[in-house]
Symmetry: C2
Amino acid sequence: MRKITFGVANSLDNYIARSDGGVDWLLWTKEVSSITSKFWKTIDTVLWGRKTYEVAVRAGAPSFGNVKNYVFSRHMKKKAAKGFELISRDAVGFVRRLKAEPGKGICLMGGGEFGRSLFESDLIDEVVLNIHPVLLGSGIPLFHRMQQIDLRPIECRPLKNGCVLASYRVEHR
Amino acid sequence: MRKITFGVANSLDNYIARSDGGVDWLLWTKEVSSITSKFWKTIDTVLWGRKTYEVAVRAGAPSFGNVKNYVFSRHMKKKAAKGFELISRDAVGFVRRLKAEPGKGICLMGGGEFGRSLFESDLIDEVVLNIHPVLLGSGIPLFHRMQQIDLRPIECRPLKNGCVLASYRVEHR
């Protein structure tokens, strides 16, 4: 089974973007870039919740090359951006089949309601947060109400830019 | 001016207790006890939001000795538990005066709406979170919607029990 990593940059109060999708508060450094590109080599598929996808597209990241990009939305009216494939039905079943296929790791970007359904279906194996030193106070939330998910820490690494990279293994039920 | 530290144990998804006030998920070890008692020597006053106070009283912590305990609530009908003084009006003004008095550090326990009013009045100097390795999924939230608060990291220390102790200095406005 392929590993699914829920990876995201968040504020200390767990927002992934401002209410208007703004990510001006994200700190991007060579260190982060090096960690990201190292991780990128371990995956070949990215799963996008609709809101995170919209934030990324608006921020000018039209798609991530060299990997297969799926955006999940039941109600998205627009065509998915170039490089993205829209999955509008049975997201959980689709991801379950994807996980069972041969291949490299899978990254779930952002989360919200799509993340919740994958957590509650016990499909996520690792959680990696790049926690930024700010309380945004409002915005698009990282987590939604869901079942309890127990975690086992893998690593907690303070970055030079003031962020904390915290990774956890999900304790499968 | 005395330092006010916002200190609390939280889940990775930022709850301070289950919806029913349950804190069975809190991990208490000798290491945590030693960190807490070291911190305890630097303060002489604890400020409690009403919900955190109720969680603590229910968990059998009737008051914290050797420090002055204030519980803040505009609507609490019951008399405050032994060892606590109820402040029901002008919480921000009260805390501002307290901060200007001579004395040791002040700890704000929990937060919620009371925490927000102190953050927004720029009265909090440090944020210390004992982040537990669990996504509770629901419960009493640590943070409420508020203004943006910029932070500067002081320390990020992984504890033996899987928690992460993350402390930040508030960038005053």
